[in-house]
Point group: C2
Chain length 369, copies 2
């Protein structure tokens, strides 16, 4: 979190039914639109990103309706669990962890389940560090009466999201990744046809009633229920910083950090989990055979003071995930890779010390020139 | 918000699956128990207090079941709307705004609707500034298979809540009132028999699945989904401050501020909306006939820089609500009353200037001696 944002959030709390708060809410919602690639209303929710995922499910789909979801990682599985919790028939499109869904898989699923009313997916699946082809899937769904619902929690603010242009019907994100904030804000935008669906009662919902939030936020310039005021002030500041850097520069910085981390993995002789479609916001490096990734993560954290994530579920102990989203700069990659080298050495992995750091640095140098 | 809390929340964000976060989460949940009067697990949710209200409804009640709720203000009505949104049959017990529900009304409703599985109420109804008799209603419900569900958003940390002793089955609150924090945290505790009910699937829910949160928070020392980390750190600090002051002193301070505000109203010749059962956390003063309360509120805010609330819905324009919960001290009442005097004078109300401030000060002096 940038110190500017921390200071903004330390301001005295204003009440959420005041002209002062309304002005900040309006500015914040407006500043989010270019990051999401939409001219539609962007709504803020007092919840984590998972709350925003639930919100779009319960506002767009009714119990007994069917939906297709991309099941290629922990967050894809979460779409399936949310659908199931609300009695929506959930058809998974299975993708091996690290892979990207192929548009033909979606076309086939739509033929197999012609009653499906939505396709739900991640733009970037954080658990596998893979990017999925939202634009190509939008080309399939936009021609049919099928909503495309996208989790952008690790893509919004990381790489270009063209919600309107790609035909995305619902795009959600959270505050704690590229938006450089503490967690606690969910963010959602809907397409005009999604708003039409949401206008009729769908699944039971109250706290996450997006129609009510639309009316409150668009028409009354406040939120339906008490908002996470300090986080909204902080978000307005972080968005100001993002726009001052410029979105193309922000996206280029993320791509450069990803290339540096990828080059480091190659220099170590290690594979990426998402070799064909690695995410710009997080790099997943497969640990060498016979080395426990969880031990690497703990060593880096407890001995070296550097935080990276391990693998989840089926990748537990087999993966190191280096996050490089938001308030991070290319040289931070050198720190993470430097720590990874020391952890690998402590586990007896055979490589030339400094090789990965040098490879990352060469990418950074090339990117700066 | 105290500056100590603002500073705590400005700390660098730690990841929520680390030993450091687990320790803070545990301490925070433990520090909440005395404020709620419970030995049960207290759960933190990334939501406003309304989210916590929805959570207890959807975890304790199933569609088609019946429940009784106290309909005596805006937040009582909210229980009814949440019940309705989830297909639970909602029977209101009507109470005139400003009044307290009488235990006989609950007994009668339970006779009239013997299938009702729960009674839902506010401990303190913020919109009417009235306190409801939770303890007496607990004496009725605890003897039957009827859950008592209490909104403590403006009572927890304001006056003594004896959840376990009173037989309350679910008590919820939020971060932004007596807990001296920005909004964005919901808090909930359930009784053993409520946990038994919640163990079976009730209404559709995912983000607010309390069983899942119980398992995560009690057993894994983290939250099911990404928590509002900065707010939890802030809450841990504000609870440290509350316990340092001591709960009896905190409650006495709130009572003293309420008495001072009530004395000021009397000195102005004005009535309290909740004359028989005024809340210790907020005082509602009826505006004089022919004076628009909304104009008073705006004048105090825009000309004098003092924020009070007006009336909502049926009390719009007829009520001034002076909040005195959390990070406020008795002399803050003098500021609010001083501003109210000037606003009343600007509207031509006839009274001796300084009389209300003097009356409030006399109460404060008596309370200090």
């Amino acid at each position: 979190m940038p110190p500017e944002v921390a200071l903004e959030m330390a301001r005295p709390i204003v009440h959420h039914r005041t002209p002062e708060f309304s002005a900040v809410l309006e500015q914040t919602r407006g500043r989010l639109k270019p990051l999401m690639g939409t001219a539609q209303e962007v709504l803020l929710l007092a919840s984590s990103g998972t709350g925003a995922m639930e919100a779009v499910v319960t506002n767009l789909l009714a119990p007994g309706e069917a939906a297709i979801y991309v099941d290629g990682g922990k967050f894809g599985e979460r779409w399936g669990r949310i659908l199931g919790a609300f009695g929506i028939i959930a058809h998974p499109v299975k993708v091996a962890w690290g892979g990207a869904v192929r548009p033909e898989q979606i076309e086939q699923a739509l033929r197999q389940y012609p009653g499906a009313r939505a396709v739900l997916m991640q733009a970037s699946e954080t658990s596998t560090t893979a990017v999925h082809p939202v634009e190509q899937i939008g080309a399939i769904t936009r021609a049919r009466d099928v909503m495309l619902v996208v989790d952008g929690i690790t893509s919004v603010g990381v790489f270009d999201q063209k919600m309107d242009q790609w035909g995305v019907d619902a795009l959600v994100t959270g505050s704690q990744k590229a938006l450089m904030l503490p967690p606690g804000l969910g963010i959602a935008a809907l397409s005009p046809r999604a708003w039409e669906r949401a206008a009729k009662p769908r699944s039971p919902r109250f706290y996450f009633d997006l129609n009510r939030e639309l009316k409150a936020q668009r028409d009354e310039h406040t939120t339906a229920y008490t908002p996470a005021i300090s986080l909204i002030y902080g978000l307005n500041k972080s968005l100001e910083m993002i726009h001052a850097e410029g979105l193309p520069a922000v996206f280029a910085r993320h791509r450069l950090m990803a290339r540096a981390a990828q080059a480091a993995a190659r220099a170590l002789g290690l594979e990426l989990l998402a070799a064909e479609n690695p995410a710009p916001g997080v790099t997943g490096i497969l640990t060498p055979a016979r080395i426990d990734g969880s031990r690497l993560v703990r060593y880096m954290r407890d001995v070296l003071g550097v935080t990276v994530q391990g693998g989840q579920d089926q990748m537990k102990g087999k993966l190191i995930r280096i996050g490089h989203m938001g308030y991070v700069a290319p040289f931070d990659i050198l720190v993470a890779i430097g720590a990874l080298e020391l952890a690998l050495r402590a586990e007896g992995y055979d490589f030339r010390i400094g090789a990965a750091v040098a490879a990352a640095q060469a990418e950074i140098a090339a990117g700066q020139s």
